[in-house]
């Protein structure tokens, strides 16, 4: 079971709610993914359009837990205020904390992230920080009170998969007890399976499903990949080796004979 601040979940796939071709596609994709947690955001509400009110009705119909994010915040101060607004709006202490360094890479700004995480954790938030694979940042986030860490696989929306696989392996080894969720950069079900095979606790993704030709079937594909990868990890993977090793017994091979001298 996936453990997030003491709460347990069967599904190890967290799904974003943005960029779907329609509200119906979003609803069907969430259902097909079996995700129990979806990410949401908050944005300026226009008195005329009132777009947020309709969206909230849709999310309530889904009957899933929401994980609000602070996407787009560039400073700790903005992220803290956004998190506080999110807590009131969504009625949850969970916050997917994002402090962004620059708009081209959407790379986490680790100094502001650690600062905001400490402020929010002290204020009773359960912080799920979007971070890199950097070990010292992870240590500081853990020290600030983060029981969950969410390193990127590659930049948000890039669909490049695990570009720094070795570092993600090291992070897993270094934090055996912490809930680790890969957030961002997952483009294909195989990336999700690979993440889970490394022993990660869960995968958070959005674009790969929402922008797929068929979001509903892609949601299903990711659900199965996450499950397969986790099962593979739990079953114990065979370590790779440089040279071949016959799987068929060598003893008794027909026509084998010793060379006579």
């Amino acid at each position: 079971m996936l453990d997030i601040y003491g709460e347990r979940f069967k599904s190890r796939l967290l799904l974003g709610t943005a960029q779907y071709p329609s509200p119906v596609a979003l609803k069907q994709a969430v259902e097909a993914s079996s995700a129990e947690i979806v990410t949401v955001s908050l944005r300026r509400e226009s008195a005329r359009a009132r777009a947020g009110q309709g969206f909230w009705e849709l999310i309530e119909q889904l009957g899933v837990r929401v994980l609000p994010n602070t996407a787009g915040c560039h400073t700790a101060k903005e992220a803290v205020a956004t998190a506080q607004m999110a807590r009131e709006l969504f009625g949850t202490e969970w916050i997917n904390l994002e402090v962004i360094a620059n708009d081209d890479t959407l790379q986490p700004e680790l100094f502001g992230l650690v600062e905001a995480a400490a402020v929010l954790a002290a204020d009773g938030f359960k912080v799920l920080p979007y971070t890199t694979e950097d070990l010292s940042a992870a240590e500081k986030l853990a020290a600030a009170g983060c029981n969950v860490l969410m390193p990127w696989a590659s930049p948000i929306g890039s669909a490049r998969g695990l570009v720094n696989r070795d570092a993600l392996k090291t992070l897993r080894a270094y934090f055996p007890e912490t809930t680790l969720i890969v957030d961002a950069g997952i483009g294909a079900p195989s990336h999700a399976a690979e993440t889970m095979e490394l022993g990660y606790d869960a995968v958070l993704l959005n674009t790969a499903v929402a922008k797929a030709g068929d979001p509903v079937n892609m949601a299903k594909a990711f659900a199965r990949a996450v499950e397969a990868g986790r099962l593979g990890f739990e079953a114990g993977l065979t370590p790779p080796r440089d040279m071949a090793l016959p799987s068929t017994p060598v003893a008794g091979t027909p026509f084998f004979k010793k060379i006579l001298s």
């Binding site: 960029q19 990410t39 009110q53 969206f55 909230w56 999310i59 969504f90």
Partner: protein, 65 residues
């Protein structure tokens, strides 16, 4: 007085944040607010006085990744 609401200039007679939300038809809406970069809880909107050039944020749930 003139203030900024969600980044746009607005001339208003509202003296409190609660009045402003009501003027915009958002009194009962699912929104959260901030004034000059700091969060203001819904219970505090009524006692939050507005001043000229205040920067107000009024946000609502939206799709997120």
């Amino acid at each position: 007085m003139q203030i900024l609401v969600n980044g746009e200039p607005l001339t208003t007679d509202a003296s409190t944040l609660a009045e402003l939300c009501a003027t915009l038809g958002l009194a009962q809406a699912k929104v959260a607010t901030a004034v000059n970069g700091s969060f203001v809880a819904s219970a505090k909107r009524e006692c939050t006085q507005l001043s000229p050039k205040d920067e107000i944020e009024i946000v609502a749930p939206r799709q997120g990744g």
